[in-house]
Amino acid sequence: MKMPQPDAGVIARRAEIIEAMQAIVLGEGVITDEEELRVYDHDGLMAYKGLPLVVVLPETTGQVSAILEYCAANEVKIVPRGAGTGLSGGALPLADAITLGLGKFNKILEIDYDNRTVITQSGVTNLAITEAVEDEGFYYAPDPSSQIACSIGGNIAENSGGVHCLKYGLTTNNVLGIEMVLMSGKIVHFGGKHLDSGGYDLLGVATGSEGLLGVITEVTVRILQKPETARALLLGFPSNKSAGNCVAAIIGAGIIPGGMEMMDKPAIHATEDFVHAGYPLDVQALLIVELDGPEVEVDHLIERVDAIARQAGATHLSVSRSEEERQAFWSGRKNAFPAVGRLSPDYLCMDGTIPRRKLADVLQRIEELSQQYGLRIANVFHAGDGNLHPLILFDANEPGELEKAENFGADILRYCVEVGGVLTGEHGVGIEKRDLMGVMFTEDDMNHQQRLKCAFDPAHLLNPGKVYPTLHRCSELGRMFVHKGKLPFPDIPRF
């Protein structure tokens, strides 16, 4: 993975930059010691590490504004960082950039049950929002599996998903407003407690922008009342294909479950060995289908899903009879990553999304690639929305294995795009999928995306080297080549 060449001129000014930061953030908020910087040398994409120029941990929006204003004036780059749980290397430090950590933005500012909103600082964890409102029966719906640790600001930067987004939407559908500091140091507000925008939807474009457009300091999210009840079915199938057919049949019957997850045989065995969830071991594929709502609705839908599953050839059917049992069904899926992690010193987690009907086909191709590369694989899958997480097992201590695993992963993602899917469903492009962007997008596609970047950060100081394989200068992107005079287009009907 090639990162932009660090700017030696900036590194040479390190002492001066540190002094300027210490004048803005007093006390211990500026980290310069190499040992302490190491804490920040990677995010959830463990394979890549690097030391930042310096880490700054501001506590107020005013400080963030002053830092960015200084950096814009002095051409110093910024890497924003939430909780550092991102899986695509979006918060990977750069040797010539300040890592700007939002960890001290940890306060929930306002809970408004009547308007069903929570206003919070951006470093608050996803789960803390739910915990703050659950006494009143409310929750924040998007639930990425890192929710205990990941920050809401990071969720917005990545447009995070989770197992419940099939029914309740992604982050972008649940965020109402943000306060963001632009690279110029200016503080802007997009959205609020009201819906939609009076101009261009800048809240919408900031969501999922991976720290390239601004630094999010405050967030307004909507909260929902928890469903009356939830129950889950555990369905085992003799093949990936029959499980895939069952998923299609459930959706085809007009049922949108609260969650619908799939695991293949290696994932089932790994998780069962790890947490003893009671999964059947004699099946090739397992589905967890959760239905939520009033009891009468859940009972009704469980009957229907049960019938569909039998029709699709399920060989194992069980329905949770208690909250404990429902949690047990989920425990395996929720621990799938650490469970698979026990099988191998290292693993890479892929994140493509595919059309649901291509599921069996894609799993077949992944199996072939697994044999070709000689690397084992386990698959977990947000089946309801087609988001696949193949886990590639490897040993980073074996020379060349990381590279082999990455090539394997890239081949999987290329195939996802080939069958009509996309490179990343919820983990983001970061550095991990950066060089594959050309598989999905043409030069013109990416240039238009970068023109949006130019409107926010014309000098490319925010998180450079992430998402786009090449960052074009904004002056170059703004240039337009036109043929003067009338182009002939005799074919277009005119009146």
């Binding site: 069903r116 447009n159 609020g192 709502g293 009033p294 919820e426 238009h448 337009m480 277009i492």
Partner: protein, 409 residues
């Protein structure tokens, strides 16, 4: 307009925009023209008529998406969806009659470009939330795409959000992909009669804060209720607060009972079933409850505010003025109608909305008024700069719908 170009393929759209960019000839972009009166009048000599870009390209009900030519009519899309018991869950409003034209018009591209949303906005989102991807030609005369056909996709910036609600000022969509969802098995509406506006806000907050999955919460003061074609609504002689409940049959019955109990029960609560329920929500969605059938020359504003501020904002703007309102989105959407004045009362409206938090759009007024008064929320400072720079990046020659949203942009 001196000339109309009517391309029939995406390639012809590209040729037309390239020509317009080269000769710096501004284009007024239109689908069926059903919302031409929405926004400011475009400053252009040439019309780019997209109505030839029609047809459902790909529709796979089990994959929950549809791809269609940008000017495919909503009527054609809805008919295809109905055959599979599916729907566009964001309920694109049919503003034809409100805007003084015909009803039953409009295209999918127009619905997305205006980021339309109906009463279900509070539960499932607006057009922006269902718009998965597109092919388009920017004002630079370059073809580009964004998104895809799958719901979960974070590959690159989400340009679909930028294009939704941009009123054709950044790019000409040629093909769009959007999410479709199962239609509910059953729909019922619980009506609470006689609540004051303030009490209605509280009742709606209670219902929307419950687990009963209310998919529409609207309050019709007595005058608005009187305009309904549903006799149970028009004939009460009181205000009507409506709650929509959708889903599988047994669940709908259960939740209607629970809602009735939650809202106090008793004689002032009624239920609407099937056709009556559907008709009422159609009237709310399409804004047919202002001054009877509309089109009588009164001006109409659309205000989006925090739901609990709805009644307060409306009170400020209606007390002693002859203006009237009804509310959707649990109080967060106010449709305000008032006698026509040369400035559409814009300073008063904007002051009230600014204090409450939110934005206001002048949806219906004469073209001269719309060109004089800012139709969309005026932007200042950094927001204005970003907006101008985005426009500059996507349409440097200012040829796509110039002036539609902001004068001179």
């Amino acid at each position: 307009m001196s000339e109309t170009l009517k391309p029939e393929t995406a390639e012809q759209v590209l040729d037309a925009v390239k020509w317009a960019a080269a000769s710096e000839s501004p284009l007024a972009v239109k689908g069926q023209g059903s919302k031409e009166g929405f926004g400011r009048a475009v400053e252009a000599d040439c019309r780019l008529d997209l109505s030839g870009l029609t047809g459902i390209g790909c529709y796979e009900p089990n994959e929950l998406f549809m791809t269609a030519g940008a000017a495919t009519t909503l009527a054609e899309i809805e008919a295809a969806l109905r055959q599979n018991n599916q729907q566009m869950a964001f309920e694109p409003a049919d503003l034809g009659i409100l805007l003084g034209g015909e009803g039953d018009a409009g295209t999918i591209g127009g619905a997305i470009a205006c980021n339309l949303a109906g009463p279900r906005r509070i539960k499932v989102g607006a057009a922006r939330d269902h718009f998965l991807g597109f092919n388009a030609v920017s004002g630079r005369g370059e073809t580009f795409k964004s998104g895809g056909t799958v719901v979960k996709n974070v590959t690159g910036f989400d340009l679909s959000k930028l294009i939704a609600g941009s009123f054709g000022t950044l790019a000409v969509m040629t093909e769009v992909t959007f999410k479709v969802l199962p239609a509910p098995e059953k729909t019922r509406t619980v009506l609470v009669l006689g609540l004051s506006d303030q009490d209605a806000m509280k009742a709606m907050a209670k219902a929307l804060g419950s687990s009963h999955e209310v998919s529409g919460a609207a309050h019709l003061p007595e005058a608005a209720a009187k305009g309904s074609k549903v006799s149970h609504v028009a004939g009460t002689g009181r205000s009507v607060t409506a709650f929509r409940v959708e889903g599988p049959g047994p669940s709908v019955e259960h939740r209607c009972r629970a809602l009735t109990a939650l809202l106090g029960g008793g004689a002032s609560v009624e239920e609407l079933h099937s056709e009556n329920s559907a008709l009422l929500w159609r009237e709310i969605c399409d804004v047919r409850l202002l001054d009877g059938d509309g089109g009588n020359g009164r001006q109409v504003w659309r205000l989006s505010v925090p739901p609990m501020n709805g009644a307060g904002v409306a009170e400020q703007l209606t007390a002693g003025t002859g203006a009237s309102v009804f509310y959707d989105w649990g109080g967060g959407l106010i449709w305000l109608t008032m006698d026509a004045t040369p400035d559409a009362g814009h300073e008063t409206v904007r002051r009230a909305v600014e204090a409450a938090g939110g934005h206001a759009t002048l949806v219906r007024a004469g073209a001269d008024v719309r060109n004089r008064v800012p139709v969309f929320e005026p932007q200042t400072g950094a927001l204005r700069e970003i907006t101008a720079r985005i426009k500059e990046g996507f349409d440097p020659k200012g040829i796509l719908n110039p002036g539609r949203m902001v004068e001179g942009v």
